[in-house]
Symmetry: C2
């Protein structure tokens, strides 16, 4: 039996219900800016050693909750676990981004891909979800997540990070049928992965579309949004995952919020290049919004952090449906004290707004 | 005496006057995708050796015009010539981006900056403009350019490229007065640089704001747009530069087009993440638009290149004020034959649109 949830602000905000104040969590809140994270990472030996060990993953997931009054936990993992489980061979070189030993280089490799076994290659993720949910003991809800089909395809075809991901875009231009077969396979894997996380105990689900913003409006709808919508539909077809709010976040695709809201997801992530009040006016009451402080603000003084956090809250205004977050992940140079200032300011000013 | 201009489509389009077809040029059209460029680059020894030698700069500026029916030439140079002339020591390491030997690390370094002498440290740029204008002999107009004040500040403070330019943003958050002194100095230098290029023979002027899109809406207006507006005002105060159309291009800042049009510039660059027809409806008849094909399309087949070029032209529609371009610079892997297909398709389909 799962413990009763003692702090449901985050889930209530995603359902656009009233809350006593604005909930906050921080993308990459379990990360290198925390000395205790770096210590666990050191014991794990490598990033993948950390991510694939449920005890280590649980430990780092809980670390920021012990320091800050956060309203949600997020599974510690990587967006590239699915292609790794598909056999592409993921590694993280020192100071570099992710790299696949066996990127997709031809149609045969794409057609050979199969949806991984959630109780097999990806069992370590589900074990981590179960362990974290148990250890959380009802403190705050647990967010499960995946990379978006398009974002996974970017890395799988390119083999590593890229400024423009021109190789995967060339595939999409020149061999659209093949690109769509690839995206469909990945979308089915992402859906199965998120459904399995829901069954293992995740209480909300988020899809990170890190590279959707590289696409023009037409290709975004065809290559990125369409397959996120397929994932949302699959989540609604399962009796467990259908009860969980799903959040879609396409960085740099602020022009597409209305179309993203049409997927029927519960919430949309918003990066810091939009005014979140303007974003709210555009999507109306259809979805909750999550965001959108510029992560670089956390490198400023505590006074500036508090001022800019209040400005985001004021921009959203006194309406239900706001989950405070950064507009992108927190960076390693940030002083943890500034995160405390951020979290406390959001809760304090969230109450002020509700009293207006 | 300068030769009479035989092809004025580009300048007419920037004035939103009718043209027989849509003019096109390509950002970074003198670049590594051309074997003749790579040959000249080899003889020059280094990128800076190429950029600082007027004969070499002239040679590579003209190369793409001999291959393709382009409607404008753009000075071959780099956006970082100004900070280099200010003493920061620019170099390009093999396969890396730009790097400054002496980045700005404190207030003293910022307050010591002076506007460089356009007939001194930057004379090589003006010599290149004069030589190219002479060699063009009226074939097409010559575009002069500069980096934007904000973009130059990004590199000057960071010392090199960066994913998030958190150091310069932290400066702007924590020491706004100092940041504004820096941006004002750079803006005065940029204005003097563009005015000098106008006097040397440039026929249009473009400001590249490569990193404006990293800023939220408020900081964009305060740190990027405000200083581009200062530059536009300075250009209007000079009897020669006031006659030249100025184009502003902030990559990734598509949400700010209306505010950018308010500067009184003649044209705005548009990246490929916007529908250019939608962009036109937003700015109306106030400015011309330049763009906006996704550069990755040039890695597709010639048929796709032609189809996507026609789609951009159709999206803009039969209205004056369109300069066709990519939404960002052309990349080294592109087959020059695809550029020929692009240029010829734009001219051909631009005529079709006008006949509708």
């Amino acid at each position: 039996m799962a413990a009763e949830l003692r702090n449901d602000r985050f889930l209530r905000a995603l359902r656009r219900e009233p809350t006593d104040t604005t909930p906050i969590w921080v993308m990459r809140q379990a990360g290198r800016y925390l000395p205790e994270y770096r210590a666990t990472r050191g014991r794990a030996g490598s990033f993948m050693g950390l991510a694939t060990n449920p005890e280590f993953a649980c430990e780092v997931t809980l670390q920021p909750l012990d320091r800050f009054d956060l309203d949600a936990a997020i599974l510690f993992s990587d967006i590239l676990t699915i292609p790794d489980a598909m056999g592409l061979g993921l590694s993280f070189e020192q100071g570099e981004g992710p790299r696949f030993a066996r990127p997709l280089r031809d149609a045969a490799a794409i057609d050979a891909l199969v949806v991984p076994d959630m109780d097999g290659e990806l069992r370590y993720v589900m074990d981590a979800v179960r362990l974290i949910r148990n250890e959380l003991d009802g403190r705050v809800p647990l967010i499960g997540f995946s990379g978006s089909p398009w974002t996974l395809a970017c890395y799988m075809v390119e083999g590593e990070g890229s400024r423009d991901f021109a190789r995967v875009k060339a595939l999409a231009w020149n061999e659209p049928m093949l690109a769509h077969r690839l995206l469909d396979t990945i979308a089915r894997a992402v859906a199965a992965y998120l459904v399995a996380q829901a069954h293992a105990g995740a209480q909300a689900l988020m899809v990170f579309d890190t590279w959707g913003g590289l696409l023009g409006p037409g290709p975004f709808r065809e290559l990125s949004l369409r397959y996120m919508a397929q994932v949302v539909d699959a989540l609604k077809a399962d009796p467990v995952s259908r009860e969980l709010p799903a959040i879609l976040f396409s960085k740099g695709a602020g022009g597409q919020l209305e179309a993203m809201a049409d997927t029927g997801c519960a919430g949309l992530g918003v990066d810091w290049t939009l005014d979140i009040g303007e974003a709210r006016r555009r999507v109306g009451d259809r979805v909750a919004l999550q965001g959108n402080l510029d992560p670089s603000v956390l490198r400023a003084t505590p006074e500036i952090v508090a001022r800019e956090a209040r400005a985001v809250l004021d921009a959203f205004g006194n309406h239900p449906g706001h989950v405070f977050n950064l507009g992108h992940g927190i960076t390693p140079e940030v002083d943890p004290e500034n995160v405390k200032v951020l979290v406390d300011t959001v809760h304090e000013h969230g109450r002020v707004i509700r009293g207006r």
